[in-house]
């Protein structure tokens, strides 16, 4: 559940707080949007440093589980607004992508 992920990576929920019970089925890390478009799977937690609203569009079109923004990167206001509208959880953490991946792997995700 996204709730458990938040605890593990010490994340702040910046959008989509209603979706915390949703299950996550995998993990995907990439910042090139059309690469993500062709390789990420439904239900994935997507780790990206991109902070604009198109991230939310991609996540929503692919039915991704949530977006995790590493290293305290600030998301754009319109991305947050769109994520709330689309019900896409946005999680922010101070960990870097590698540390997040290790934490999620320890939870048994992405195997």
């Amino acid at each position: 559940m996204i709730k458990n992920i938040c605890e593990k990576i010490n994340a702040t929920v910046i959008a989509g707080a209603d979706e915390m019970e949703k299950e996550i089925s995998g993990v995907y890390i990439c910042d090139l949007l059309s690469w993500v478009m062709s390789h990420a799977n439904k239900g994935d937690a997507w780790i990206t440093v991109m902070s604009h609203a198109n991230v939310v569009a991609v996540a929503s079109l692919l039915d991704l589980g949530c977006v995790i923004v590493p290293e305290d990167i600030k998301m754009d206001e319109d991305a947050i607004k769109k994520a709330n509208e689309e019900g896409i959880p946005l999680l922010s953490t101070s960990m870097n992508s590698y540390e997040i991946a290790i934490a999620l792997n320890n939870m048994g995700l992405g195997l």
Binding site: D31, L32, L33, S34, W35, M37, S38, K42, T48, M50, H52, A53, N54, V55, A57, V58, S60, L61, L62, D63, D78, E86
Partner: protein, 139 residues
């Protein structure tokens, strides 16, 4: 003859609304009860076509047409057109500006993604006139 038709205007450089046409099309297909795997393919290829209209063209229209056997997506723009379609189709080829690359576009994967997701895929382009991408997904 198509039973259902929708058209969505897509503006040049309108990054705030980029993806809206694809998102609306996805919602329509969901309401119609189309198979999830097909919706995914339509969503991916429509998004790639829509973003190309936003970043590479002067603006255009995305259309959805559905008949009893297929979903047809058309992305028609007002130019500048593609001089070498074969080159543009190559994975990794991109003329995207530094500004849009910073946003995560420009991997040169959009057209290959569309071709992969569509059951039938066509690019027509005339320099100075515009580009039309036509994709069919069989249902």
């Amino acid at each position: 003859m198509s039973l259902i038709q929708y058209h969505f205007n897509v503006e040049k450089d309108d990054f705030d609304r980029a993806g809206e046409a694809s998102s609306n099309i996805k919602k329509i297909l969901r309401q119609l009860g189309i198979d999830a795997a097909i919706i995914r393919k339509v969503a991916i290829s429509t998004y790639e076509a829509e973003i190309n209209v936003v970043i590479h063209s002067l603006g255009g229209v995305i259309s959805l047409e559905i008949d009893t056997s297929s979903i047809k997506i058309t992305a028609k723009d007002r130019g500048p057109g593609i001089a070498n379609i074969e080159l543009a189709m190559q994975a990794g080829y991109s003329t995207a500006s530094d500004k849009v690359r910073e946003m995560g576009f420009g991997a040169g994967m959009g057209l290959p993604n569309m071709e992969k997701c569509a059951d039938k895929f066509e690019v027509e382009s005339v320099v100075g006139i515009g580009t039309t991408i036509t994709m069919h997904m069989y249902i």
